[in-house]
């Protein structure tokens, strides 16, 4: 045991040792640079080495390295290689001429000079072609990154009837551009860092300066800085490292694929974290009530939205509690059912061989299987799964007398309402099982115990210092304007109080048609 602990400590020390490579500077000898790069890259077929001579009269050797597929070939050809090859400096010395390379000769919008080899290779591997020139101890980083990219499409996970049809893509730059297009304001800040020892993934921290609470922003940066992992392949990696309650089943970081949602959240005073290579953007702080909101809530008129919002809340409760309540009432509290309903349930359960708990849990698990299969299966076999799922597990099971019809109804209702609140889908599925087991052991009393436990747990959570359950606990009445009901936008004059933003005023409050200038009122008739 002691040895084991010792070994652990030793291992930890090893992990913490920084594997630093001593900085290599770019040499003025072209040969040296080429050899160095070749020694590091060794055999990678996608790296292009192109050597050429600069100038028509005098000749200076030059050398271009690039990763195939990650740069714009025509741009490099037209704007770099061609003008350099045809360079005619007249009487001036060619090297003097080349000193102003970035200012006069190369017509790319971005060009950087780099002194160290390590930095140059980092840029190279991110897609920027690197130019070395004999006699100059600098590497020129040519900003010509370009690669094949998926077009902007509507995100399949968050669809709306009314609202923009664009979703984020896998390229960070495109994503930040999409945000910039939503908020044309100088205070939109996009700060960039790199996380991941192997992947060196670009991470952008996006916020609106002057609105966001600086404490929260500081906390976000602090937590991001602490991350020390191999690779960031998706924003989920980041999420797991920065969330407040890593062992809770409740998420404390929200995510979306929609630029309009991110823009709205930024305008409310939140911070967004964008990760290169994924379509999912993280947003903090996250309040539980956000799960019940949809972007469309703000694009449609408020009355129906309020109805749907409250239905979502009820649906969430139903989805978690319905199977448990069904089992508890059936096993322990038969008096709760109205007599007629009890007779119907009893009739349908005649001849069913399993106890009700087994029946319900079987159906719930089968549903989760179906759900998982539906996501994982190859598209062409989709029809098979839906036929087997719907027919075998539903109708046939009932007809064969293996499952009673009310159970199927309860589980189906549970499943459907579970999808109403998609951000909490995983939570719903887990809670459902907890409640169900408690209901089987202790009846409604058991459900209440588990419910009390989770209520206490949720009330104790915080997301970046903001109470997770605001505005219902602690109660902030202004938050209720946009919780169960959504009041008309002209009355939502302030940003959410719970987020403790710097600038609370969103808009001035007198914008009704009644406040218009009386001279203007008659116009347009």
């Amino acid at each position: 045991m002691y040895k084991w602990i010792q070994r652990k400590i030793h291992f930890k020390k090893l992990m913490n040792e920084k594997t630093e490579i001593s900085a290599h500077f770019v040499s003025s000898e072209l040969k040296e640079n080429v050899n160095f790069i070749e020694s590091i890259i060794q055999e990678s077929s996608d790296i292009i080495f192109r050597s050429f001579d600069i100038g028509i009269n005098q000749e200076v050797k030059a050398f271009l390295v690039a990763v195939e597929g990650l740069f714009d070939q025509t741009a490099i050809h037209e704007n770099v290689i061609k003008p350099l090859m045809n360079l005619d400096c007249g009487s001036r010395d060619l090297l003097d001429c080349l000193d102003h390379l970035d200012k006069e000769l190369i017509s790319l919008s971005s060009i950087k000079k780099e002194l160290t080899m390590d930095k140059s290779i980092e840029f190279l591997l991110k897609g920027d072609p690197v130019l070395f020139i004999n006699g100059i101890n600098k590497a020129f980083i040519l900003g010509a990154r370009a690669w094949e990219m998926r077009g902007i499409e509507e995100p399949v996970t968050e669809t709306v009837i009314r609202g923009p049809r664009e979703g984020f893509v896998e390229t960070l730059r495109t994503n930040t551009a999409m945000l910039r297009r939503k908020i044309h304001h100088p205070k939109l800040r996009i700060e960039q860092t790199v996380i991941g020892k192997m992947s060196s993934t670009d991470i952008a921290i996006v916020y609106l300066d002057g609105i966001v609470n600086p404490e929260i922003l500081k906390e976000v940066k602090k937590r991001l800085r602490k991350i020390n992992i191999d690779a960031v392949l998706e924003s989920g990696y980041i999420e797991e490292f920065i969330q407040d309650a890593p062992y809770s089943i409740f998420p404390t970081v929200s995510n979306t694929e929609r630029p309009d949602v991110v823009a709205a959240r930024l305008l409310e005073g939140r911070v967004a974290i964008m990760v290169d290579g994924t379509t999912t953007v993280l947003m903090v702080p996250y309040l539980m009530m956000e799960s019940f909101q949809s972007p469309e809530d703000y694009y449609s008129r408020p009355y129906y939205v309020s109805l749907v919002r409250s239905l979502r809340l009820i649906g969430f409760l139903l989805s978690t509690l319905a199977p448990a309540a069904y089992v508890a009432f059936h096993d322990y509290h038969k008096e709760i059912f109205p007599t007629e309903l009890l007779i119907t349930i009893a009739s349908s359960r005649e001849g069913v061989p399993f106890p009700i708990f087994i029946e319900v849990i079987l159906m719930l698990v089968s549903f989760e299987w179906l759900h998982e299969a539906g996501i994982r299966m190859p598209r062409p076999v989709g029809q098979a799964v839906s036929i087997v799922g719907a027919l075998v597990l539903g109708e046939s099971a009932v007809n064969a007398g293996l499952v009673s019809a009310p159970t199927v109804i309860v589980v189906a209702l549970t499943a459907i309402t579970g999808f109403l609140v998609t951000p909490l889908y995983d939570v719903t599925a887990l809670l459902r099982i907890f409640y169900l087991v408690a209901a089987e052991i202790l009846g409604v009393y058991g459900i209440m115990c588990v419910l009390a436990f989770f209520l206490l747990h949720v009330a104790s959570l915080r997301s970046f210092g903001i109470p997770y359950t605001a505005p219902w606990f602690p109660i902030t009445w202004s938050g209720w304007k946009d919780f169960v009901v959504r009041v008309p936008l002209r009355n939502l004059t302030r940003r959410p109080e719970d987020l403790r933003v710097l600038n609370e005023v969103r808009q001035n409050s007198e914008q009704g048609p009644n406040n218009l200038n009386p001279n203007e009122r008659g116009k347009g008739r």
Partner: protein, 371 residues
């Protein structure tokens, strides 16, 4: 950390150990009792008859029906548990709709029969209690295709009596209040067997826990009027006319209010019953013109009819049955505490001689036709 784990374990222990009854049972393993009848046994103890719901089969298209089972026991609880012998299932009593008590048993005393239903945790206190005209068993054994689960129908039939006021609806909770209050007596609706059907009308009047006599359907309405529980009903008034036959006018009772007051004269109490009733003219059997004069005449006849009905009922209950259904004792106690303290013990002698005056005010607010 250790403390935390210990705390959680203790919490779980407390939560699971202190739950009381571990009453888990599958629905198909129990018999859902919908109605129970209690009769005096031939030798000693009780004869119980239950209607247990037999779930139908939706696939075969058979509707739910009831199983009729009987059992015997020295006490009601004993008999209830003895059902396991006949029914092979544990009987659950949460869904009892009606309890029917046989007349013979009620006359010897009803509380041994009903005590189980108040004391046990399963039966609901909202279930209705009835007195069978003869035995409870024969009522529960009625089989009729029109109502596959008779207890539900029975409960419904007494609920709709509020449109008729010819039988009271008495839950076991209310009934027990009547028994437990010292100067108050309970009453129950009577259920009659007619071929393979049952009919609910009339009232069984109790003195203490013993049944002492019946009221007819009309007397029941009189009683309900005094109690202020007559919610609706039809009062037929005979209007004399110039022709040979009197014209019959039905008045639908819309609102009936009563107030009972105790008056003292020379230290002697008397009871003043005031009934205010509002009705609509529902139908008229002959051709008459309903002008104001006629309506006033009808009002007078209406009041007279009520007064007659109520007085007859009061006399029957007070003088014949000597039953404290109306809680006159409570009224006197509230009005004059001193008198009550001195005379409470002689109440049984005072009550039958108590003078009761009935005052009736009637109003007819609509005649049902546009002029």
């Amino acid at each position: 950390m250790k403390q935390k784990i210990a705390l959680v374990l203790i919490c779980i222990c407390i939560v699971t150990m202190l739950t009381g009854c571990w009453g888990k049972s599958e629905l198909r393993d129990v018999g859902i009792v919908s109605g129970i009848g209690i009769d005096a046994g031939t030798e000693a103890g009780f004869e119980l008859t239950t209607q247990t719901i037999k779930p139908g089969d939706p696939k075969a298209g058979t509707p739910a029906s009831v199983l009729i089972q009987t059992s015997k026991g020295a006490t009601v609880f004993d008999g209830v548990r003895n059902f396991i012998i006949t029914a092979k299932k544990k009987q659950i009593f949460q869904h009892i709709q009606v309890v029917i008590i046989g007349r013979e048993l009620a006359m010897t005393g009803i509380s041994p029969a009903l005590d189980f239903f108040m004391r046990d945790h399963e039966p609901r206190s909202s279930m209705d209690v009835f007195i069978a005209d003869q035995t409870a068993g024969e009522i529960l054994q009625i089989k009729n295709k029109d109502f596959p689960i008779p207890s539900l129908t029975l409960k419904e039939s007494v609920r709709v009596q509020e449109f008729l006021s010819k039988a009271p609806q008495v839950s076991i909770h209310n009934f027990y209040q009547g028994i437990l209050e010292p100067y108050q007596d309970p009453y129950l609706p009577i259920i009659h067997k007619v071929k393979d059907n049952f009919e609910v009308y009339g009232t069984a009047i109790f003195n203490g826990e013993k049944l002492v006599g019946d009221l007819t359907a009309f007397e029941t309405r009189g009683m309900l009027r005094v109690l202020g529980d007559a919610k609706a009903g039809i009062q037929v008034v005979k209007l004399p006319s110039s022709e040979n036959e009197p014209i019959l006018i039905s008045i639908e009772i819309k609102k009936s209010k009563s107030s009972i007051k105790a008056l003292f004269q020379n230290g002697q109490p008397s009871i003043q019953v005031e009934i205010k009733e509002t009705g609509f003219i529902g139908d008229v059997s002959g051709q008459i013109r309903l002008d104001q004069q006629k309506i006033n005449e009808i009002k007078g006849l209406y009041a007279k009819a009520i007064k007659l009905e109520v007085e007859k009922t009061i006399i029957k209950i007070q003088k014949q049955f000597k039953s404290n259904v109306f809680d006159f004792a409570g009224t006197i106690q509230r009005t004059n505490k001193k008198y009550w303290k001195e005379n409470a013990k002689q109440w049984d002698e005072i009550y039958p001689e108590l003078s009761v005056n009935v005052n009736v005010q009637t109003d007819i607010t609509a005649n049902g036709l546009e002029e």
